[in-house]
Point group: C2
Chain length 114, copies 2
DNA sequence: TATAATCGTTCAAATTATTAAACCATTAAT
DNA sequence: ATTAATGGTTTAATAATTTGAACGATTATA
């Protein structure tokens, strides 16, 4: 019946999988909020984030790498200093929003079928 | 400055944490899609899901328990048979959508500040 | 009542994720 | 050129998650 719609859902879930995993971690949530709160938009350094997350430098570095891999964070290098900032997050957010919309649609249709 | 808005974000992230973790797992995604696809709305049994997920019965049972704990799945018992179905998922989805909206809003405001 | 069917629970093993210590590379400053 | 500062990488340990085997509880059926 609605196999095409379900296939779309399946693909949609796959597509946002890493984004969901990245967003589900408490420490990464703290990092994301800190980056959102960086109104000066200079970017934050690893050291800035060790305090906020109460994590070691390598651990912060690791989480930033994950956020970079899913494409919502980017780096700007200034000498030996690395400034991390949110980049392209809107695109990932929209993918997830579209998926949630599709899921809601399927659920609404199911209700109407009864 | 916008500390109240950031506090709201922080709370929002916390609130959807378990939902995000639950949704990030591939096997649980398969289960959710299967439940969405259950147009008859009779609910699906553990056995039905072992085939789809290629998981053992206890593993499926475990994932269903997680989905039940975050409040998007419920059980109906019929004799010895347990039928699982989506329940209250819209509520969790809306929480997540609201958070995504808030994040987008903060990002848009940041752009305007420049 | 005895047997079969269904599914949850417990437990231990395997896998994966997270973390920090130690190390390396690069850049800046002296 | 040395030295200091910054931060990424590797490695090893720890923690968490995922998994299936074995078992237990409940319900249906003979």
């Amino acid at each position: 019946m609605k196999t095409d719609k379900m296939e779309k859902l399946k693909y949609g879930f796959e597509e946002v999988k890493d984004f969901l995993i990245a967003l589900g971690d408490e420490k990464r949530q703290i990092i994301i909020i800190a980056l959102l709160n960086d109104h000066a938009c200079k970017g934050l350094r690893v050291i800035d984030l060790t305090d906020l997350t109460e994590l070691s430098r390598p651990a912060v570095s690791h989480h930033l790498k994950i956020l970079k891999q899913i494409g919502i964070v980017d780096i700007r290098r200034e000498g030996t200093k690395n400034y991390y900032y949110l980049s392209n997050a809107a695109s990932e957010i929209n993918k997830l929003r579209n998926l949630l919309d599709d899921v809601m649609e399927v659920m609404t249709e199911k209700k109407e079928e009864l």
